[in-house]
């Protein structure tokens, strides 16, 4: 009786503790999110000093997003493509490197020494300002920068890293790779260490080679985490902004080939303050992210419960 009474009187404290979080979330994130969606159906922008709208226009902004411009290009698709290309160039080597590193770190056979040092060094780039990285690489790779001074003395001519489409994209992808592989490695390591160690020992007693262990045990059991890591990386990739924005001073040079979706969005906040178009673009990015997140939730929730059971079945 008294216990029941107690739990009722304490319930109000629960609301008290979570209130600040929810009030701030609703005011500063939920309301802005909803108003972003709301204004995506309006003409609402600035022309000179005059504010146009808000005037309801239905799906006009969405249609505009998918209308080819004077060059016959559909801006949204181009920038979406750029974002995906740069994500893939960075993420694929990142996954390979991280997988290899995490296997090396966790291998009971190799027993690598100095792990603390290696991990510390490899995680560090993740904490460095993306803007500092961008500016640093911009200066290092510029036509008069140190890297080109080396190339010049070796070949007699310079290489224009940032003035050509694919080299520029590769540089941006490389910075993202350098910044994120340490983080991915730690996540994959946690995954590998979560695998029942006796499976590895049994395989070793049975005389399985390192390759067999990796492809027959580690990789299949790590798959759910690998999928999780890949999709969260993709969600992060969709938000790519700082590096290309600062590297190219916001113009996505050369010829807008490094312009990402969020840079495109950011442009609508410039002088035009086009909240209508920005809203429509936000909604589309939101839908893509929501679909990806849903897949993450699926892979996160279902295999976690089934993992222990499936381990035997698959191993």
């Amino acid at each position: 009786m008294t216990k029941k009474h107690k739990s009722i009187s304490y319930a109000k404290w629960g609301y008290f503790f979570i209130a600040p979080f929810f009030i701030v979330y609703i005011v500063f994130q939920l309301i802005p999110l909803l108003s972003t969606f709301y204004y995506s159906f309006f003409d609402y922008y600035r022309s000179g000093l005059k504010v146009i709208g808000p005037e309801f226009v239905g799906f006009k902004n969405y249609a505009t997003l998918f209308t080819p411009d004077s060059n016959g290009q559909i801006g949204f698709l181009t920038y979406f493509g750029n974002t995906m290309i740069m994500w893939i160039i960075g993420a694929v080597p990142q996954l390979v490197f991280s997988l290899l590193l995490s296997v090396i770190y966790t291998s009971y056979r190799l027993k690598i020494k100095g792990q603390r040092f290696f991990k510390t060094v490899m995680y560090m780039p993740n904490l460095i300002m993306a803007s500092a990285y961008s500016l640093l690489f911009f200066t290092l790779l510029s036509n008069v920068g140190p890297i080109n001074q080396i190339i010049m003395s070796a070949t007699g001519s310079t290489f224009d890293f940032l003035g050509q489409v694919w080299p520029a994209r590769t540089v941006i992808a490389f910075i993202n790779f350098i910044m994120w592989f340490g983080n991915t490695t730690i996540l994959l390591m946690a995954g590998i260490m979560g695998i029942d160690q006796s499976i590895f020992e049994a395989a070793s007693i049975d005389g399985a080679s390192a390759g067999q262990v990796f492809f027959k045990i580690t990789l299949p059991l790590l798959m759910p985490i690998l999928v999780y890591v890949a999709i969260t990386s993709l969600i992060g990739g969709l938000q790519m902004f700082d590096v290309p924005q600062i590297m190219t001073s916001g113009n996505g040079s050369p010829n807008r080939s490094t312009m990402t979706l969020i840079m495109y969005l950011n442009n609508y906040f410039g002088t035009s303050k086009n909240y209508g178009m920005a809203g429509a673009l936000s909604v589309i990015i939101f839908v893509i992210t929501a679909i990806l997140s849903f897949i993450v939730f699926k892979t996160m929730n279902s295999p976690d419960k089934g993992k222990k059971k499936s381990k035997k079945a698959r191993g």
Binding site: S7, Y10, A11, G14, F17, I18, P20, F21, V24, Y25, P32, L34, T36, Y39, L100, I104, T106, Y108, L110, I112, T120, Y123, L127, M129, A132, L135, L136, F137, T139, Q149, I178, I186, L187, A190, G194, F200, E201, S204, D206, G207, A210, I235, Q239, F241, D242, Q245, I246, M247, S249, G250, Y268, Y275, A278, G279, S282, I285, F286, T289, L292, V296
Partner: protein, 294 residues
């Protein structure tokens, strides 16, 4: 890492193979370490060289202009005042990280300790919103900031830090594993007020998680570029990332002093690097702990 080492399966051949694999692994680790550190090495070297030395050619040996570059970078007034940007970044990051850590712990505590109507729904709600990128609500956020008259102030960069879904999630995981209900009940028996119990008894027990999240939140805010660049207009209020972006855009028009540019980058990242060197162990472990198990 396995603690038991099975030697019965080892033959001479596999041992030799393991040794080769070990050597290759160290070579790979060395390569990746070099890859991670080389840009910083170049940065440090270049920040010690004068503009004319930098123009003259490439070297891996430090020069003597470090303090000259430092003085120039520190005193440059053309676009922004560097010490001011440093201070602005520090104030915003410090306040935002304190708010994030404290209120995430408080929210996680509320969800973990109390039973109330709608609790599970609210918990699921936080998990769902965790994945929503902040940029998506930027249009509405900017309008709201305008309505509140908070444009060109630090408030829009500090107050929203109270609601950080992913930090909340981390705290919730940590509390589940390290805060026994008995402790709270004992405090109740002693007549402690619930809010006081949280502040005096629970918070100190969460110190390891709080310190990791404090550092992560500080770094995240320190490095943030998108929102500050939208909200802060006057250059006296700029944070470091905005200042660096401005430096970048200037390089196009006029060459400027490259020694100074390298020094500005160096000064912007060095606080985080120093802190990281001291707490790297906690951070690397913290990332693994925060990793969603599954």
């Amino acid at each position: 890492m396995a603690t038991t080492y099975v030697s019965t399966g080892e033959t001479k051949g596999t041992r030799a193979k393991t040794n080769i694999a070990r050597v290759l692994s160290y070579i790979f680790l060395g390569f990746v370490t070099l890859l991670s550190l080389f840009p910083f090495y170049l940065l440090i070297i270049n920040s010690t060289r004068s503009h004319s030395e930098l123009q003259a050619g490439f070297t891996l040996i430090p020069s003597t202009s470090f303090f000259y570059n430092l003085k120039t970078a520190w005193n440059d007034r053309t676009m922004f005042v560097f010490p001011m940007a440093l201070l602005n970044s520090f104030i915003i990051a410090a306040l935002a990280s304190i708010l994030t850590s404290y209120f995430s712990a408080m929210t996680a505590y509320g969800i973990h300790v109390y039973d109330f109507k709608g609790k599970n729904m609210l918990f699921k709600f936080i998990l769902v919103i965790m994945m929503i990128p902040t940029q998506i609500s930027a249009a509405g956020f900017l309008q709201l900031v305008g309505v509140f008259g908070m444009r060109d102030t630090y408030w829009p960069l500090i107050i929203p830090a109270i609601a950080a879904p992913s930090v909340f999630f981390y705290m919730k995981q940590y509390i589940e594993g390290s805060l026994p209900m008995e402790v709270i009940e004992a405090a109740r028996v002693d007549g402690s007020n619930e809010f006081k119990t949280f502040n005096i008894i629970a918070l100190p027990m969460l110190r390891p998680a709080l310190s990791v999240q404090l550092i992560f939140a500080f770094v995240a805010s320190w490095n943030n570029y998108f929102t500050p660049a939208l909200v802060l207009d006057s250059s006296s209020k700029w944070t470091l990332p905005i200042a660096l972006a401005a430096v970048r855009s200037r390089i196009n028009s006029e060459a400027g002093n490259m020694g100074e540019v390298y020094m500005l980058i160096f000064l912007s990242i060095i606080p985080v690097v120093i802190v990281y060197i001291f707490v790297s162990k906690n951070i690397v472990e913290g990332v693994a702990l925060g990793a969603v198990k599954g």
